[in-house]
Amino acid sequence: MLPEIIRRVPLFATLPQVELDALASNLREYSYPAQTVLFEEGETGDRFYIVVEGEIAIIKAMGTGNKRLISIRGSGEFVGEMSLLNRDGLRTASAIVHTDSKTLEMSRAEFDELLHRRPTLAFEMLRVLSARLSEAHDKTIRDLMEKNRKLAEAYENLQAAQEQIIQKELMERELSHAHEIQQNMLPRKLPRLEGYDLGAVMIPARSVGGDLYDIIPLNEDKVGIVIGDVSGKGVPAALFMALTQSLIRAVAHADLSPDEVLNRVNRHLFEMNAGGMFVTVLYGVLCKKSREFTYVRAAHEYPLVWNQDRKLIRLPEDRGLPLGLFPSPVLQTQTLKMTSGCTMVLFTDGVTEARDEADNFFGMEQLEASVPDCVDNTAQGLCHFLVQKVTDFHGEAPQDDDITLVVVKTT
């Protein structure tokens, strides 16, 4: 049986019968289960193996991140010859049994003797080694090309990611400038009015917001007070907010009634409003001497007013349309007597529509209930107190909308 197997090995195909018989009596047959390590790269080799059955994998750099399968040798092929040919005798790769295998094994001494007796065997071996070298060379080039392609792809992805980071940073820088510009549009310092205490705050939900407020000294006796909320969010809302705030600043005048001011502002907004945006505004004129606050409400929330007894005063209902939608909106003027010790809170819906993690709204009731707790505070203190209340309420939930408050207290 063994001579038959040996004859089928291409390496020995040219050997005479007598040599085959000698090999059959000298070579030892071994069986190995899959995953057996026949030898490891770097160790000294003292034998080579002829595969009778099964498959043996030749692996470079086994156990490292660069592990690479060189080839799989099957029936009739041989492995482990390199260390017998190399001067240093070291294994150039590892051999692992891929599927259950049978091998014939020849020691270094047997191999040397055979080559000595049959030098033609060296030519056979050279042919096989030359073919293997060529195969390994082609595989190396293919691997290099694949690695090069992956590297080029990774480089392109890196460039795209870097470009995105640059664009994002640019946008963040621009938004930061826009935020600064918008903050500078708000009054840096509120005017001091004898007999009154004023406070205001705006916390945008994003870098830039669509809310606005302003305190505009009109003359020695009158101050214009504005709060507004543009429909929508982000940059478009911020631009419309800037436009509205600038128009109100430009138009507001001591001799103009609040409804006249907002009608003029509306005409400009309506003409320039191709995008269909709108803004709710409350604009009023506070008269120091008469202690009257005369206001129009262009669809904005009603003012909340508490008297000196901390009682919420119910204001008369009025009508008012948002600005920017119609050429001449209905606006009704109201006058409120600001008696001593009263507190007026103007706000945007970012306060009442703040939502907690369970999607509950802060709501008007909570706002109305919160103010009397802090009515003895300064106007600015009350603004901060209410912002804290809303912030505590929404907790980990994101701030959906801009939060703006203007507080006027009479002393």
Partner: protein, 128 residues
């Protein structure tokens, strides 16, 4: 928020949007209105009878639908005069049965001045 669409035939074809749940986003309402509008229907009745709460996002959606349908009104001049006089009411978008809270929101924002609010369904359809 859930929106169910149905069709009613009065003097004109009316698309009825039955909204269920809080309106806290304009998403959904606007897209549905655009679909109906693009399909050639320019009269919408918004059934708010099962809407417990409406935020400013709901007002934005109403404004969007109002503007979308307004382009089909017969006389823009008459519209402008009506708005100035406070007598204009949209012929294309009407509201049905908002609850007390939603009515309050609509009134505060002045929307009841240009959007008819109905409490009788048949009369609402016949009013188009």
């Amino acid at each position: 928020m859930e929106i169910n669409l149905s069709q009613e035939q009065g003097k004109v074809s009316v698309s009825v949007f039955k909204v269920k749940g809080n309106i806290t986003s304009e998403v959904g309402l606007q897209e549905k209105a655009k679909e109906v509008h693009d399909a050639g229907i320019h009269h919408i009745l918004l059934d708010l009878s099962e809407v417990p709460y409406m935020s400013s996002a709901g007002l934005r959606a109403l404004h969007y639908i109002f503007s979308l349908l307004r382009a089909h009104e017969e006389s823009d001049q008459a519209t402008k005069a009506g708005i100035a006089a406070g007598t204009y009411l949209s012929a294309n978008l009407k509201l049905y049965k908002p609850n007390k809270h939603v009515t309050e929101v609509l009134k505060t924002a002045g929307y009841d001045m240009f959007l008819e609010i109905h409490t009788d369904y048949k009369k609402a359809i016949a009013s188009f």
